[in-house]
Amino acid sequence: MATDKKDNHWKEDFPVYQLESTQVSRRDFAKFLCLVSGGLAVGSGYVAIKANFFPPEKIAGEHFVCKKYELPVGGTRSFVIAGSTIPYILIRMENNEFRAYEQKCTHLSCAVFYKPGSGKIECPCHNGLFDAFTGEVLAGPPPRPLPRLEVVIKGEEIFVKDFKSDKENSERSNHSAT
């Protein structure tokens, strides 16, 4: 020990000298507990404030995804919108309608996928199931429907834009009607 030159870093964790071993006093432990619970309180506060006062930004404008012929029936294409990191999927349903959703499961953010032929979007992590036409939760733990984008088709090109729910849409059409 005295003469070998091997690195003796392990001694820092297992000191032989009583003075080097750390003593955790009741007071230190209480301080640690306060710090941790304070941290948890601040953290939950941050999450609550972020969710309630800074709602996620809406997507402005229309974004090109791909050409129609690039997506076969029952197929899925994943994409992101410039300036954001949220992954989306575009689905060409069997009846030739298009749907676009966030790919993050609303339960614990696993990547969801469309199960061709079933009309359902599945989350493999905890068997969450969403309706591929509306994004509604059909089964499993997800608490909210999948956030949806509106698909706009212009000739051969597919664009997405911020989705207005049917309610909003109908309200708008009511207004324009009157």
Partner: protein, 189 residues
């Protein structure tokens, strides 16, 4: 940190040549309640067939105690005065690593307790400013506990040595061995 009256000016000096094998130290040590009436000091015969010469071994309280370094249970620790304490009974798992590692053969595994026991320089006494039990009873002063000046006056022809060379390993200790004047280290091969 607990306050003690440990006298840092006093040291342990062992003069093996003066040991007459009376075992008074063993008796004194085993009378001490703190070690369960077991002697923590050991008197050995050098070569009993040819000589009656005995030696006495206390824990040398190594500067870098191998016993503590090899202990997987962190049971052996060294305090701020350099005293290497005996195994913390709550921690010792009785593996005997320290017994095999100590170059001086000090720690002993007591099978009845499943525990290692070694000399802790009578910490109950030395921390109160007293001398270790063995040193106070040794009739020939083969065991002496006191200051360096005292020993220099008492043994003008000897020097205290606390460096030991075991093959390629050198070990320095808190406890001194009296060697012929001018010696600096003891080579044990």
């Amino acid at each position: 940190m607990p306050v003690t009256n440990y006298r840092t000016d006093q040291e342990f000096f062992v003069d093996m040549q003066r040991c007459i094998g009376c075992k008074a130290c063993e008796m004194a040590c085993s009378e001490c309640e703190t070690n369960g009436h077991e002697s923590m000091i050991h008197v050995n015969y050098i070569d009993r067939a040819v000589t009656v010469q005995t030696t006495v071994q206390v824990c040398m309280h190594c500067d870098d105690p191998v016993c503590a370094n090899v202990c997987p249970a962190d049971a052996i620790t060294k305090d701020e005065f350099g005293v290497v304490h005996t195994a913390n009974t709550a921690r010792c798992i009785g593996c005997s690593n320290c017994v095999m590692a100590c170059p001086f053969g000090v720690p002993q595994k007591k099978e009845t307790y499943d525990l290692m026991m070694k000399c802790n320089m009578c910490y109950d006494r030395t921390s109160a400013g007293k001398k270790p039990m063995c040193a106070t009873v040794c009739p020939t002063q083969a065991l002496y506990y006191g200051t360096r000046e005292e020993i220099a006056k008492m043994r003008p022809n000897s020097t205290p040595v606390n460096n030991f060379i075991f093959g390629k390993e050198s070990v320095s200790t808190k406890v001194n061995i009296m060697m012929p004047k001018g010696s600096t280290s003891l080579i044990i091969d």
